[in-house]
């Protein structure tokens, strides 16, 4: 007995050491794979927040104010990816497995609030990266702060072209979403294959809406020379009453409305079309909400709505169908989250987060310079297709997808209501991408 | 200037003043001549247009027709503040002091006006000793030194009335229009008020509206009777007392001596 007691401490020590080495080995070998976790336990409101030595990611989004829902959705999507990675042990950086900790920062969609929130993120919470954000006027602040404090900023939802032009570009900011220009080119190319020729541009009266309107006119001129823009109106944000605008559209004889609107404006527009007894389809990025169909009385409304996006759930790839299945399993009966398929932005942004963390994992470090070097020119196979980070302006190069809404559709909420057509149309990147902005190599 | 044709001993003259509220004529062809250095009372029943006449003279209302001459100068249509700077002061029927400010601060405002300190942004008011001394002196003169730091709104009615009068007098106007200075006061207070008016208006021209005939007859040098917006009679107190027309229209209607 005595001898056992005598050798017990060294043996234990050795055993622990072995275990440690083994675990290190396994850790080093282990890399996370997307969509491995058990998502049934994932609840964005009750996220497990790891503490201690973690990878800190700042989430810069509006959590108060009129666009608070945008922040909630982003939190949900980022949480999805983080949940997946953390349940696989985290990411190996600088020789240590670290879990990811998300720290929220509220922008209230006001540049000033955003700037202060960012300073708190960077200076006090000492985040390693930050991601965001709704609103190009907020994204500009993100760009500047990223450059000032040399933190990587992943922009996944500000679409204005000028964010990454020669004046605003900096090497710490990466944009994975498309731009108004790319969206417009995708749409215009798609329309060149259809007989629709009379368009009405109805966008929100602020920089994103105006950008989209301008891009659309340019793209139509390029791809559909015979197209006619019969009217162009910019309406205030959060508009109450679309009826006067629609009467104007009606009088113009347009066949298709082109709109940059996002909820609630996009919803109001569709409802107003229904109320006015019109059936004119709308083209844009946010006219595919599956909840919409059930609330329209005239079942012809919404048919022919054309959606352009950098991801759509009806893109036929093996990765995407697996993702769709997992997502649908999790959310088909969820009353709170009424999106049961990872439609456009939802699925796309999840993919972009996976890409970003994959880059970090491959870099194996939190060193900003190393991550930038790896990411520039990097290629990643996402759910819908290949993503490449263009070195010149840090804009992701991707195929675009266009889909019209039909009924019945298996992608609808009920399975036979209004939803995407069976398969999205893929428009290759070399058609939709615009060249590197002037002044950037 | 051709409008300086009014006699120099008249401090205020009105020529054919007419004023309307909507369709209703409230002042008809008012001719007033106020002698320099006299106390002139305007009496008349309620609604006779006395306060409207004051408001017209002091520039609050612009008369529909007619002219007003002050110190021989045509001042028709002048704004109240300009008239005040020319030396025309007034007090109000309903107390109109700065209720949130102390008695001292109230009076100091008038003293500033008297000393023509209007747009001075460069000196501490508290450090301008002469203003403070003068204000305190005035406070003692009117017997409100004890209430120096009390907000005007908390003064007793009689004292508040006294402050109201003093605000007008402290500016040192050449002509002052007093609108029922003794309104709502007890007999004793009225008596004090008459004394105060007598003291403060020494050597000044005064127009006074008053219902209390004791006050009127003890103060006024001349009296004008206003009735339905028209001048019924003007004359010395004894002339008015004996004027049959006035008796019929006004004095007979109420018990003169007790009218409040």
């Amino acid at each position: 007995m005595k001898s056992i007691r005598a050798i017990a401490p060294p043996v234990t020590c050795i055993c622990l050491l072995c275990l440690y080495i083994i675990s290190m080995d396994i850790g080093a070998a282990r890399a996370f794979t997307p969509l491995q976790a058990d998502f049934s336990s994932y609840d964005p409101e009750k996220q497990e927040i790891p503490s201690g030595d973690t990878i800190k990611v700042g989430l810069l989004e509006p959590f108060s104010g009129q666009s608070a829902s945008a922040g909630e959705i982003s939190n949900w999507l980022l949480g999805w990816v983080v949940h997946d990675i953390n349940s696989q042990g985290g990411i190996m950086v600088d020789g240590k497995m670290k879990k990811i900790q998300v720290i929220k920062a509220d922008t209230a969609t006001q540049p000033v609030v955003a700037k202060r929130a960012l300073q708190r993120l960077i200076l006090n919470d000492k985040v390693d990266f930050f991601v965001g954000t709704a609103g190009s006027h907020i994204a500009i602040i993100g760009n500047q702060m990223a450059e000032k404090y040399q933190k990587i900023f992943l922009n996944y939802s500000a679409y204005s072209v000028h964010l990454m032009n020669a004046q605003n570009f900096n090497r710490y900011t990466f944009r994975t979403c498309s731009t108004t220009d790319i969206n417009a080119r995708g749409l215009a190319y798609y329309f060149s294959k259809t007989p629709i020729r009379k368009f009405y541009i109805l966008c929100q009266d602020y920089s994103y809406g105006q950008d989209f309107g301008a891009s659309m006119k340019k793209a139509l001129k390029e791809f559909v020379p015979t197209a006619e823009v019969v009217g162009e109106v910019y309406h205030p944000l959060w508009l109450k009453d679309f009826a006067p605008y629609l009467s104007k559209v009606q009088a113009s004889g347009a066949e298709m409305i082109i709109s940059s609107d996002w909820p609630p404006d996009s919803w109001n527009l569709m409802l107003a079309i229904d109320q006015m007894g019109m059936t004119i389809p709308v083209a844009g990025q946010f006219f595919d909400d599956p909840r919409m169909g059930e609330n329209l009385k005239n079942k012809k409304v919404g048919l022919g709505n054309t959606v352009v996006n950098f991801h759509l759930c009806n893109v036929e790839t093996e990765r995407n169908s697996r993702f769709n299945k997992i997502f649908h399993e999790r959310y088909k009966d969820n009353a709170k989250v009424q999106i049961d398929w990872p439609t456009g932005v939802v699925g796309g942004v999840i993919g972009h987060f996976y890409w970003f963390f994959d880059v970090v994992q491959r870099a194996g470090t939190l060193n900003t310079e190393k991550i930038i070097n790896l990411w520039e020119g990097d290629t990643y196979e996402s759910f819908a297709g290949k993503l490449t980070m263009r070195k010149c302006d840090h804009q992701a190069v991707m195929d675009m997808f266009v889909s019209t809404l039909v009924s019945p559709s298996k992608w609808s909420k009920t399975g036979n209501g209004l939803g995407y057509q069976e398969q999205a149309v893929r428009i290759p990147a070399d058609i939709v991408m615009s060249p590197c902005p002037e002044g950037l190599k | 200037m051709n409008d300086q044709h009014e006699p120099a001993d008249h401090i205020l003259t009105t020529r054919g003043l007419n004023h309307y509220f909507g369709e209703r004529q409230v002042l008809t062809d008012i001719q007033l001549e106020i002698q320099r250095g006299t106390r002139h009372a305007i009496i008349g029943p309620n609604g006779a247009g006395k306060t409207t006449l004051f408001n017209t003279i002091t520039g609050k209302y612009k008369p529909k027709s007619g002219r007003i001459f002050f110190k021989g100068k045509d001042v028709t249509g002048f704004k109240p503040d300009k008239l005040a700077r020319m030396g025309l002061g007034r007090s109000f029927q309903i107390n109109s002091t700065f209720a949130g400010l102390s008695t001292f601060q109230n009076l100091r405002m008038a003293i500033l006006a008297r000393r023509k300190i209007r747009f001075n942004f460069f000196r501490f008011l508290d450090k301008i000793k002469s203003v403070t001394t003068e204000t305190d002196a005035f406070l003692r003169r009117i017997g409100l030194a004890a209430e120096r730091n009390l907000p005007a709104g908390l003064l007793s009615y009689g004292k508040h009335r006294c402050l109201e009068l003093s605000l007008a007098m402290a500016v040192d106007p050449e002509l002052v229009l007093l609108d029922e200075p003794a309104a709502g006061m007890s007999r004793e207070e009225t008596h004090k008020m008459v004394e105060l008016i007598r003291e403060l208006t020494q050597g000044k021209s005064v127009i006074i509206i008053e219902h209390d005939m004791d006050v009127v007859f003890s103060l006024a040098d001349r009296i004008t009777v206003l009735h339905h917006g028209e001048i019924l009679a003007t004359g010395s107190p004894s002339e008015i007392k004996s004027n049959q027309e006035v008796k019929d229209a006004y004095l007979g209607e109420a018990e003169v001596g007790n009218a409040a």
């Binding site: 009453d241 006067p244 009467s247 109001n268 109320q275 006015m276 | -």
Partner: protein, 295 residues
């Protein structure tokens, strides 16, 4: 009928529908203001809250008419509660039309509070209220068709307007209310329980906002930002129409509705500047508003 005439008439009716909705909100605003001198900044929030309550009632019962009946009553109840518990507490010795800052700040607080509470309960996503099927179609009139629901709003607002005029101009209660709006101090002197009248008017005002909220529900989606624009428009109506003037509120509401509709048609993007420019012009030369009478 030629196309231009159709377009003009359609826009006119669009303007009418929005104007009517605005009048329902602004009438309560101006009544409360005229009577108590309170610029109730939370008024438009009651409008928004009513839409949410209606949404909830619809979610439980599925009956729009029930929502139209109950939601405004619930809102009126809340309004009365606010008046009796909060406003009454801070309104000391004060009657009349003076600008009362404490009440103003209180209503600012309540406005923010309602908006945040709504976000906490229902989230920030837009919610949809479906109009009853009978009202969802198009109705042919004057040789063209027009959405039934918008006509319903016009009809509803008209009938409430008539009801309101009967109550205010033909009944004893109405006389008292108008007297109190005109001169609260005098009415107290007449021995009328003015605080009770205040409560009644406050309840009436919030009830009107509630009706407008429910009516607006199916027309617009329901979202927390619904109150902001309505508040701004109500401000304009009250300021231009004359503080406390129902007649003025009606005329300006119609004018504003039409300006919005025709503004979209003829000078999109500039109607805000025109409107506020006009407001500035009117207020400068008639600080009491176009139809305000009192000094």
């Amino acid at each position: 009928m030629n196309a231009i005439a159709v377009m003009l008439i359609t826009q006119a009716v669009h303007g009418l529908a929005y104007g009517m909705l605005l009048f329902l909100v602004a009438s309560g605003f101006t009544l409360i203001f005229g009577m108590m001198g309170i610029l109730n900044i939370a008024h438009a929030s009651f409008f928004m809250l009513a839409a949410y309550v209606a949404f909830q009632i619809m979610a439980w019962s599925g009956n729009f008419w029930l929502a139209l009946l109950l939601a405004p009553l619930a809102i009126a109840f809340l309004g009365i509660l606010m008046e009796r518990v909060m406003l009454r507490r801070i309104r000391r010795f004060k009657l009349g039309k003076a600008l009362v800052l404490f009440e103003l700040m209180l209503t600012v607080g309540i406005m923010v509070c309602i908006e945040e509470a709504v976000k906490n309960i229902w989230g920030t996503d837009p919610q949809i209220i479906n109009a009853p099927d009978a009202l969802r179609g198009l109705i042919p009139c004057f040789g063209m068709t027009y959405p039934a629901y918008r006509l319903f709003i016009i009809g509803l607002a008209c009938s409430i307007l008539i009801l309101l005029s009967i109550v205010l101009f033909k009944t004893r209660l109405g006389n008292i209310v108008r007297a109190a709006v005109q001169d609260a101090e005098m009415t107290v002197a007449l021995g009328i329980n003015v605080p009770l009248v205040f409560t009644f008017v406050f309840g009436l005002g919030t009830w009107l906002a509630g009706v407008a909220g429910v009516a607006a529900g199916p027309l617009l989606t329901v979202f927390p930002g619904l109150a902001n624009q309505m508040l701004l428009d109500s401000f304009i109506v009250v300021a231009l129409g004359g503080f406390g003037s129902l007649m003025g509120a009606f005329i300006i509401s119609m004018f504003l509705g039409e300006l919005t509709a025709f503004g979209v048609q003829f000078f999109p993007g500039y109607s805000t500047i025109i409107l506020f420019g006009f407001m500035a012009f009117v207020l400068t030369f008639r600080p009491l508003g176009l139809f305000g009478e009192r000094e």
